[in-house]
């Protein structure tokens, strides 16, 4: 049925830090030149259209630029403002809360469903795989509109159905406690299908013989999961976690559509602040400074994850 070549194998990703020494050894300058040839097109694009604008934004972050007209050098004023504005403290707290809500939920949902989908006993696997992936093709903004309609307190179908069984959902997006979980849920809904596909690929590559061996040793399903699946999936897991976290720290689209940062600023994230100060208040210098603070924070959090997974890797090997 499948016309794809049997050799085309999808492999689990390597450790985040990379494997230590590549076999084949170093051959000095010639390798460097070859590498450069391979890297050149991507590096050209990334340097011109990503690195250079980032440097330009860094420069802007030390000015009072509005984006046009004259800008004056203001030293670290914008950075001082970032660390002294109480609203920003709230935005940082909200962003972290969102990240904590989104990242584990999306990753665990994807992992659990991938495990179920990987079970040969499950019928209609092709249908389930396709159906669960489809939300990923919907943009976050459209997803936000659909969900807003679904949970509308007056005419929302979900509210109506839940009301029918005695569950009052209320006005979720105006509830200071529920608004953030709601916007996080929309992002989980949109993104878990993509993570699921990556996990499926990783799972497919775990040799069945390992499970058989574990069974022979008398390991139950949970033991097989913790002793076989999890260690062999840890590189995939680390990769997905890091990227899910980077995306969560930049939460914007569905929040802009669904709550605009409300109620009372309870869903106001850092990137919402960056957008508002840059594009609404025309304080591009401040927006750039805030972006760099976010960059540094993300970098630190990522390094923490890398270290954590790096250690796990050693433990299990």
């Amino acid at each position: 049925m499948s016309l794809t070549a049997p050799r085309r194998r999808y492999r689990p990703p390597a450790p985040l830090g990379g494997r230590r020494v590549a076999p084949g050894g170093r051959r000095g300058g010639r390798r460097g030149a070859t590498a450069l040839a391979f890297l050149a097109p991507a590096l050209l694009i990334l340097t011109v259209f990503v690195a250079w604008p980032m440097l330009s934004a860094l420069r802007t972050s030390f000015t009072d630029a509005s984006g046009f007209g004259e800008a004056e050098w203001v030293g670290f004023d914008n950075y001082v403002q970032v660390f002294t504005d109480p609203d920003l403290f709230d935005a940082v707290r909200n962003t972290l809360w969102y990240t904590v809500l989104f990242t584990p939920t999306a990753v665990i949902a994807a992992l659990v469903l991938a495990l179920v989908l990987n079970s040969p006993a499950l019928p209609f696997r092709g249908f389930f795989r396709t159906a669960l992936f489809v939300p990923f093709v919907v943009s976050l903004a459209v997803a936000a509109y659909a969900w807003t309609y679904l949970i509308d307190p007056q005419v929302g179908l979900l509210n109506h159905w839940l009301g029918g069984v005695g569950l009052q959902l209320g006005n979720v997006l105006e509830d200071p406690q529920l608004a953030m979980p709601a916007v996080a849920l929309v992002a989980v809904w949109k993104n878990f299908g993509f993570y699921l596909v990556i996990f499926l690929a990783g799972l497919q590559d775990i040799p069945g013989s390992l499970y058989e061996a574990a069974k022979v040793d008398g390991a139950g399903p949970w033991r097989r999961f913790t002793n076989v699946t999890l260690p062999l999936l840890s590189n995939t897991l680390a990769f997905v976690l890091v990227f899910a976290m980077i995306a969560a720290l930049q939460a914007f689209d569905q929040i802009y559509v669904m709550t605009g940062g409300g109620p009372y600023g309870n869903t106001q994230t850092i990137v919402m602040e960056i957008y508002e100060s840059g594009f609404r208040k025309l304080e591009l210098g401040f927006a750039s400074a805030l972006s760099y603070v976010l960059l540094i924070a993300t970098l630190l959090l990522s390094v923490l994850q890398f270290v954590f997974f790096g250690r796990r890797e050693k433990d299990t090997q």
Binding site: S66, G67, F68, G69, E70, D152, P153, Q154, V155, N171, E174, D175, G260, G262, P263, Y264, G265, E276, G278, F279, R280, K281, L282, L284
Partner: protein, 422 residues
């Protein structure tokens, strides 16, 4: 070998793509000789857009020195597109935007000062509604001309009124609340009415105007003269207490509603009265609601309504002759005949005070709104950081309607707004 061909194809496509597509002709109209070419960004996309295009075409045909071409940038994305375009120096020469957005651009030096234009007796600006002009004025300097200025109005559902035996829309706040109570129906007695007498959003209201309108009615204000913060006043306190009683206690309106939800409540017949913009007329028609239009009922101190404004300005990157050309278009746009055409076409009242309601009588909505024009007050005129001010007002009203202490909320709002405009 297919793969070789693919690689070659990619390389070719890249080469062609990057060179051939790249050579876009630069069409700024500063070249000597020939007419001055202007680009004009606006967000009029409904019937109003067609009328505006027609006015621009007529202007282009009326003389041979200036040619204006328009590009549509909807109101809710104009900030996203304008900033990058201005930063790269290839923005429009003329841009129209929601009026409360103009001051921040003007303050950052994006727009040309138009005081000399206003001083010119041929500019057709002398008869402009002063409230509309206030919305293009920042620290005493005028940076644009209005294209729209309309007070919020009360839309009411005639069928629901008739069913309750009410014939007249309310004229005062007390009337309003009493009428609304009569129209609020809780059939199953669960404490949540199925039909509300009114929909009064407590945040993100239409054009941010509902609460400013109520504050004016109670004799209060938010910011005076662009920098003087006056939100923490006994008048505003009384206003918030009055509406807390009506909304949260008497439940004439659901709480936690924003402007879009409010539109939905009125247009689905679940709320009998609603403060809205002129477009509520067409939304009501689309939804089969038999509606009437009345002024915002008078408060204890004043009858006033916050106005929705749209303004257009000339950007700094327009050359001298482009500025002159833009001014030529402005005075054409504002002459008496075109003012009537624009009013009828856009569905908004005339911008000139010397156009009487009967001149626009063929459109009953415009005529009704024109009669209310005197109640219109500009929203936050001259306030550069309107973003933070409006956020603070939203938080104040939403928290107040949720039952938090009004005195504390007002002093917090005062502090927030002071730091925003200071």
């Amino acid at each position: 070998m297919t793969r070789n061909r693919l690689t070659l194809g990619l390389a070719l496509a890249l080469a062609i793509g990057l060179t051939a597509c790249g050579g876009d002709d630069d069409s700024s109209g500063d070249s000597a000789g020939g007419p001055v070419e202007l680009t004009f960004w606006h967000g009029y996309t409904e019937a109003d857009g067609d009328v505006l295009e027609q006015l621009v075409d007529d202007f282009n045909a009326s003389q041979d020195e200036v040619v204006i071409s328009t590009e549509i940038n909807p109101w809710d994305v104009i900030d996203d597109t304008l900033l990058p375009a201005l930063s790269a120096g290839n923005g429009p020469d003329i841009v129209a935007m929601p009026a409360e957005r103009l001051p921040v651009y003007a303050d950052r030096g994006a727009f040309v000062e138009l005081d000399d234009f206003y001083d010119d007796p041929d500019s057709n600006t002398a008869q402009l509604n002063p409230g509309a002009v206030e919305m293009v004025t920042v620290e005493g300097t005028r940076y644009g001309v209005p294209t729209g200025f309309v007070p919020l109005a009360m839309f009411y559902n005639k069928a629901l009124f008739a069913a309750a035996g009410i014939t007249e829309p309310p004229a005062t706040w007390d009337d309003w609340v009493e009428t609304a109570r009569a129209l609020t129906v809780d059939q199953n007695g669960d404490g949540t009415p199925e039909q509300y007498g009114a929909a009064i959003p407590d945040h993100a209201t239409v054009a941010n105007g509902v609460w400013p309108s109520l504050f004016y009615g109670g004799g209060g204000d938010i910011v005076e003269g662009g920098t003087d913060v006056v939100i923490d006043s006994p008048e505003n306190r009384a206003t918030l207490e009055f509406w807390y009683q009506a909304i949260a206690v008497d439940k004439i309106s659901p709480t936690g509603v924003d402007g879009i939800a409010g539109d939905g409540l009125f247009s689905s017949g679940k709320a009998a009265m609603y403060l809205g913009g002129p477009w509520m007329a067409s939304i009501s028609e689309e939804n089969g609601i038999d509606y009437g239009i009345a002024p915002v009922p008078a408060g204890p101190q004043a009858q006033a309504a916050s106005a929705i404004g749209v303004s257009m300005a000339v950007t700094e990157q327009a050359g001298d002759d482009a500025v002159e050309a833009a001014e030529q278009f402005f005075s054409y746009f504002l002459d008496q005949e075109n003012a009537v055409t624009w009013s009828l076409g856009s569905g908004w009242p005339p911008l000139r005070t010397d156009v009487a309601a009967d001149a626009v009588a063929e459109n009953p909505v415009v005529a009704a709104l024109t009669e209310q024009a005197e109640f219109g007050r500009p929203l936050l005129p001259g306030v550069v950081n309107s973003v933070d001010v409006l956020t603070a007002v939203d938080e104040l009203t939403q928290r107040a309607m949720a039952g938090e202490d009004i005195g504390t909320l007002l002093s917090e709002a005062q502090a927030e707004i002071e730091s925003a405009v200071g």
